[in-house]
Amino acid sequence: MDDFIFFINKALVSGAVLGSIYALGAIGVTLIFGILRFAHFAHGDVMTLGGFVAYGLALVAASLGISTFWPTGFIVLPLAIPITAAFALGIDRTVYQPLRARGARPVTLLIASIGVTLMIQGLIRLVAGTGVYSFFDTEPKELIRIPTEWMGGSRPINLTEPQLLMVIVTVLAVVALHFFLTGSRLGKGMRAMADNADLAQISGINTRHVIRATWVIAGGLACLAGTMLALDVSLKPDLAFNIVLPIFAAAIVGGLGHAYGAIAGGFLVGFAETLAVFNWSVVLRPFKDSIPFEVPADLYIVPTEYKLTVAFVILVIVLLARPTGIFKGAST
């Protein structure tokens, strides 16, 4: 039983956290793709930027002496999210909108987003250097222990406080997004524009307004995801480059342009990555009498250094088997 609890602690919990991060990132990617028809490569950097905004605000809060039961990085989110969203909106205004106004093809926007990536990375490192930061230098990371006696275990299930908070916040954000997309006028406009931009425009939908809303939502979710990643692991300026592949894999798995698909894809990729680098021999050990071969001490599906290959392999399988993704998205 304890081996099973170890599995929950090491695989399921971190898989759920990683999945939430990827899902939030992938929703942004997929919304931008659905509305503006280009792959926004700078999204990983917007996430990193969001993390740094939250970190900066947390420092300010700490210097003001604000300290609560909740992690400070979490408390500042209501401020960090609008700042990051405004920043995303600013990028669109200064970089993408002039290109769109000129009638540039989506591929030009894609290359421009690479330029934006470099600019954000340069800015972050210019301000923050290249070091690694942690939200928990000044306060402890609270551990939540769920006793497991009722299911016959002797060790508790461990969750850190940010992990629990973040999974809850992700669920809330996803539910809110659902009601926004299905219930509100603006959300319906977004879905209409994703289906057919020209038709949406002649039906009287204010497409500029919809585009603005898209950037605000994508930027806000990116801030949430970036802060979450920073709270769970640590904050580094080059966080983005490693997550851009998994979030795009997640968005493509779910079908580009499909918000719900992106959520499913995010959790799929998150769990796949975690389970692939999990040491399975721990789980197999209780059954070692009934397994015909000897269980080695370390049994990883892929070595940890190759974690990134998992997202790529999933991407390749989807591209080969079903290029439109699980929920039929755009493919051509």
Binding site: V116, G122, R125, G129, L245, I252, E305, Y306, L319, T332
Partner: protein
């Protein structure tokens, strides 16, 4: 070549001469060597993007493959490894790989012909799992044996001529490009961009972590040159500073010849029917398909062809710098810098690619000390007015260049989308 091109090339020559006068002959020959290798890579990317309209955001991966190829081919043979059990173990791993591949292909064929539906898919998945397990069961012990006891810690090279290594670099890059292209061409262009980013990061992870194959972060040096080394010139009685200039000029001649051959071939192809067909596919693939062109095959062709040049250029870079360090490759120095080169130089124009490569590469190198000095001055100023010095000044000043690189991309796309030398289409044919 028109007047605009001649003027721009003359301006660039002046710029390089000024940098050379400022930095000395040994340094500028070294920069020119790297710059010409970048020019070859830029032509490769220009074929893919300028002719074919195909994204390649994984240039770094193909460059790394080229570097690995020249290391494996040209580095002296490691006798200790070949006398150990290592080769036999690797042979078994190779056999396991072959058996696994046969299993997968067999299952796939069976699924295609006889067992359609869930049973066939289950069989294919099972074949993949068995093949992967089989291969891992052989390669893991072989790798740890070679790394720990099998003599020298890695397999070593083959001791062949470096030019063969350059050619092999092209072959390896072509193989990787073929696989990526087969998977993602014919779908949205964004998918190719994602897939190339993925493959390049995976190539980096593989080459960095497979210590038995590449020595990983321990690095391999010195990589032999196809031409005499500075040490050879010194042995012939040339003084040390001059020997570097002579040796680099010798290698420069070889690199320039390769670049020239590539340029002539690519340029001729571009002006022929093949180039017209490629432009037609790029500008309107639906119309070209309706004219009977096999769009997907042609795109694959051009993607592989461009990657060959990128791979050869990557081999050259490793040869020139004489060290293969998989840990030192960063996308910014390769993938993104080369995109700036092609966008600034002018997509679809090979002279533009060469101009852009030399201009951007030399500026990139020169901007490092410039940024350091600028930040040093700023730091002095802030100290004087009592704000204190700027901390971590070296990393910050180099990050300033990353920001500028991004800004150049965005600005070029907005105000000069055609580049310095725009694509020229001859209408008189």
């Amino acid at each position: 070549m028109n007047l605009r091109a001649l003027l721009l090339f003359a301006a660039m020559a002046l710029f390089i001469a000024a940098v050379g006068w400022w930095s000395g002959a040994a340094f500028i020959t070294f920069i020119m060597l790297n710059g010409l290798a970048y020019a070859l890579i830029a032509i490769g990317l220009n074929i893919q993007w300028g002719y074919g309209g195909l994204f390649n955001f994984g240039i770094m991966g193909f460059i790394m493959l080229g570097g690995f190829a020249v290391t494996a081919v040209a580095y002296p043979v490691n006798g200790a490894f070949w006398e150990s059990d290592g080769p036999a173990m690797l042979g078994k791993a190779l056999l396991a790989f072959a058996v696994g591949a046969a299993l997968v292909v067999g299952a796939w064929r069976l699924q295609r012909r006889l067992l359609k539906g869930p049973a066939g898919i289950a069989l294919t998945v099972l074949a993949w799992i068995v093949a992967y397990g089989l291969y891992r069961s052989q390669i893991d012990p072989a790798a740890s044996y070679i790394e720990s006891e099998g003599g020298g810690g890695w397999v070593g090279g083959m001791g062949l001529h470096p030019l063969l290594g350059w050619a092999f670099g092209g072959v390896l890059a072509a193989g990787a490009a073929y696989i990526v292209g087969r998977i993602s061409l014919g779908l949205r262009t964004d998918y190719l961009a994602i897939a190339t980013i993925g493959i390049s990061e995976i190539i980096r992870a593989l080459l960095k972590n497979a210590d038995w194959l590449t020595r990983g972060t321990l690095t391999v040096s010195p990589i032999p040159w196809p031409t005499p080394l500075p040490q050879d010139f010194q042995a012939w009685g040339v003084s040390i500073p001059v020997s570097f200039v002579y040796a680099r000029l010798g290698l420069l001649a070889v690199v320039a010849v390769v670049l020239l051959i590539a340029l002539v071939l690519v340029q001729r192809a571009y002006e022929g029917p093949w180039g017209r067909m490629m432009r037609a596919i790029r500008d309107n693939h639906i119309a070209s398909a309706s004219m009977g062109k096999d769009v997907k095959r042609r795109q694959l062709e051009i993607f592989v062809l461009g990657s060959v040049l990128i791979g050869i250029g990557g081999s050259m870079l490793t040869s020139i710098n004489q060290i293969y360090d998989p840990g030192a490759y960063q996308p910014i120095n390769y993938t993104f810098l080369l995109w700036v080169v092609v966008i600034v130089g002018g997509a679809g124009n090979n002279y533009g690619a060469i101009l852009g490569a030399l201009l951007i590469y030399v500026s990139w190198i020169v901007s490092d000390p410039l940024a350091q000095n600028l930040f040093g001055a700023l730091s002095d100023a802030s100290t004087r007015i009592g704000w204190g010095a700027i901390p971590e000044i070296e990393t910050r000043s180099s990050q300033m260049r990353v920001f500028l690189l991004g800004f150049v991309i965005v600005a070029a796309l907005r105000w000069a989308p055609q580049g310095l030398l725009p694509e020229r289409i001859r209408r008189d044919l």
